[in-house]
Symmetry: C2
Subunit: 475 residues, 2 copies
């Protein structure tokens, strides 16, 4: 039975890409939508997003941010005000030209991101320093017409949160961009059990219209990098383009300073790719739709179903997302199915266990089995918390083991081919950056250290203002 399930998903070591697609489908996380490049978030996949969303939303609100909702429909003329921004997004912007059989006077675009529409409103709302800061977030769908798509990682429509803040001073805005990056990092660690690399992005990789983009990169089990969130310090670029001015305390009219930042349903891809194994998905308890699956052994016996029902009710009453599987499937099939779905903990209860006043707990992450006293909810809670922490530690160790310092391009190629990310000294010029991308298909993910004296491993020039950076192949 186990083999049947396993053979339906590709080998994680030899065909990671196919393994990913198989897990997405088999665990019923998502399906392909009828329009090319779109996906359906199936209930199990969407439930993970809801848990993640709830946790992140709580943290954003706790730091003074409030939610709002801005229109998805943007007049074409509004999009084109910030020149760098429109250049970056225009080629992939979906445009409504027609309603029914009527052709519109002015085309309307679907938001690829909401700076333009939000800034047009801020321009009306911001008058005085008393109106600042504005700390608004929105949960929304956006559309970007990507050529190559992959469930969660890159789809033509995706879900995300986008924060858009306005500040009176440069330092306040810059700090906001950095603080949110830290909030994201902590969220990934504590909720998703995913370690991330954070740092400034290069000019080439920054957001269209930003002064500075900070990135957060997670690592996939095949040694690639996945951009999992970004925060942008926008300076006064958008406040100039959209006329966001305020009277400061001295009565002087000033342009405001802004930030924007977001994480998306791509984080579901990060989760799968950071924690999965040959049996399928492995979910950290904090976001698992089902944290504990209880499997009755010999479920035809009344004592078994009664005990299982009592146990599930007890777990639920203590805030644990638990359920029992009373289906007609064989026990082996059930094990495989719930392992595929990444359920953090399995509890087996059979006649002998009941007799012994015991239950068997099996961890999804390590496959370790332990016996606990029947109905000992505290033991279950503790084990879930241990799983959460251990998953982070394991992922962190994996990441550390797969970042290798290199000193030549040959070393770099060798390490990238082995499935590692590399740390290298880079002079800071775009020629070197582009050359590496072309020759090794690797990009600079984040700058980990700046303003240091060092020799570029590409052009071999020694610079006073060299940078230590992470190069990787990325999804």
């Amino acid at each position: 039975m186990e083999k049947e399930f396993v053979k339906e998903i590709a080998d994680i070591n030899t065909d990671f890409s196919q393994w990913y697609t198989d897990v997405v489908k088999k665990a019923e996380l998502a399906d392909y939508g009828p329009a090319k490049g779109t996906i359906v978030f199936r209930p199990y996949g969407y439930a993970i997003w809801e848990n993640l969303q709830h946790e992140l939303d709580t943290r954003l609100k706790a730091t003074g941010h409030v939610n709002a909702y801005f229109p998805m429909l943007i007049p074409m003329s509004l999009l084109t005000k910030e020149s760098e921004h429109v250049e970056g997004f225009a080629p992939e912007v979906a445009t409504i030209t027609q309603v029914g059989k009527e052709v519109l006077d002015e085309p309307i675009v679907i938001r690829p991101t909401s700076e333009t529409v939000i800034c047009s409103m801020y321009s009306k709302w911001v008058q005085s320093y008393r109106d600042l800061p504005i700390l608004i977030n929105q949960w929304a769908n956006v559309v970007r017409w990507e050529k190559t798509t992959r469930p969660f990682l890159r789809t033509r429509e995706f879900l995300w949160q986008e924060g858009h803040t306005v500040h009176a001073t440069e330092s306040e805005a810059l700090n906001e961009a950095i603080d949110i990056l830290k909030l994201y990092e902590k969220f990934c660690k504590e909720i998703l059990a995913i370690p991330v690399l954070t740092g400034r992005k290069t000019e080439k990789e920054k957001f269209a219209g930003a002064v500075t983009t900070f990135g957060m990169e997670s690592m996939t089990l095949d040694g690639k990098s996945l951009q999992s969130g970004t925060t942008h310090y926008l300076g006064q670029n958008f406040s100039h383009a959209y006329d966001i001015k305020f009277l400061d305390k001295t009565g002087k009219l000033e342009y405001a300073y802004q930030t924007s930042w977001g994480v998306s349903t791509r984080l579901l891809g990060a989760l799968i790719m950071a924690h999965g194994d040959q049996r399928g998905l492995v979910l950290p308890p904090m976001v698992a739709p089902v944290q504990v699956i209880v499997i009755p052994i010999a479920q035809h016996k009344e004592s078994v179903t009664q005990t299982v029902e009592k146990l599930v009710a007890l777990l639920k009453s203590k805030g644990i997302r638990a359920q029992a599987d009373y289906s007609e499937n064989s026990t082996g099939w059930k094990y495989n199915q719930w392992e595929m779905k990444g359920v953090s903990l399995r509890i087996e209860v059979g006649p002998r266990d009941i007799e012994n006043g015991a239950m068997i707990l099996t961890r999804r992450d390590t496959h370790d089995k332990v016996t606990a006293t029947l109905f000992d909810v505290k033991a279950v809670k503790k084990l879930l918390s241990t799983i959460q922490k251990d998953m982070y530690v394991k992922a962190k160790k994996f990441m550390q083991a797969h970042i290798v310092k290199v000193h030549t391009m040959e070393q770099m190629k060798e390490q990238l081919d082995k499935g590692n990310m590399v740390k290298a000294i880079w002079c800071g010029c775009q020629e070197c950056e582009l050359m590496v991308k072309e020759r090794l298909q690797a990009t600079i993910r984040v700058i980990t250290n700046e303003h240091l004296k060092g020799k570029c491993i590409f052009c071999t020039q020694v610079k006073e203002d060299a940078k230590e950076v992470i190069f990787a192949r990325a999804y």
Copy 2:
């Protein structure tokens, strides 16, 4: 000071329509978006929606429904499969024909509702009776290119939840449509403090593609009707069009039975129009973003701010959404501002109150003042619960007083002009229905009683199968 605020909003009795728009703007619930017919949900307005959403989502989940998310982008060819449905929606469907400068091979439409895309997926997912029922809901934005728009009530993009269920039998599906209607009604009563009329819609008013539509109508303070939610029994219309078949227990291939149902951000309009008064918004505590506003009197005194801070912290710790207003505004201004925003309860705390160990509570709904013991959180909780109940009772009485039984068209015109809804006997034919719409601008909102012998007040024919219906002018 009070006058200043009040004069900024139109008179509720003589210009209800302008009063509504003024409240929406002044209470900072919404603003107009840059694209015609769109609105921005500002943080205060969106917070009401979040509270409403949380309460409804909890109730839907408790009845076995799960959330998912389907693409907003629908290939044009998919929309056109159910002929009645496409006829109903095609004229207002926004169509993407272009991405960047590239023209698409097949136009993509933005969902006006999601039956088509969801049914195309159900056709893949449903194989056997074991896959049924499917009880999926989604929270999403939809686009309908309305000609005349008004904040919350009718906008080109709006937010809603749409449930889409699949069942093995007709009776199960029909019951689902009726059960959800009841769930909506209870939700409106207990959470929004809004009484509603429920019942079947006429053929003319039903959803494009449904067998039967059930409607829920709320009443506005100017005596009009507002369609506040609908549930549709779809029969096999969509399962035939989209090929949703399942093997039943006997091994026979059958077409499935379906429902769909939804409520939208229009409920925010219903809230404003059901409870408001000349001072602005009046919110039921269950959805109020701020349930209690604490106003310090003589806030320059340290004892006052200390007491107010302690009180707010205490209220918050007991789950009450409370905050204090320490702004530089005058006390009168603060009163007016928070009344405009509909905050359920105001608490004033000044030096004399502290001395007396008291606090003054002022209800937003009745303007009644009571004195309570300082820090008596239980009294606050009790009063909030009383406000919630009283608001419903008041709205219910208002509705009852404004539904008048009529026996002639003259009576009907008189009552409609007075700002009432009417109950009348109707033969059931569409000619009478259309004639009334043309001559009195009133439509049948719901059928309250069917299959009775009666004389139509329009054509005066006596029918064995006449209907008692509610006619009203509607938003």
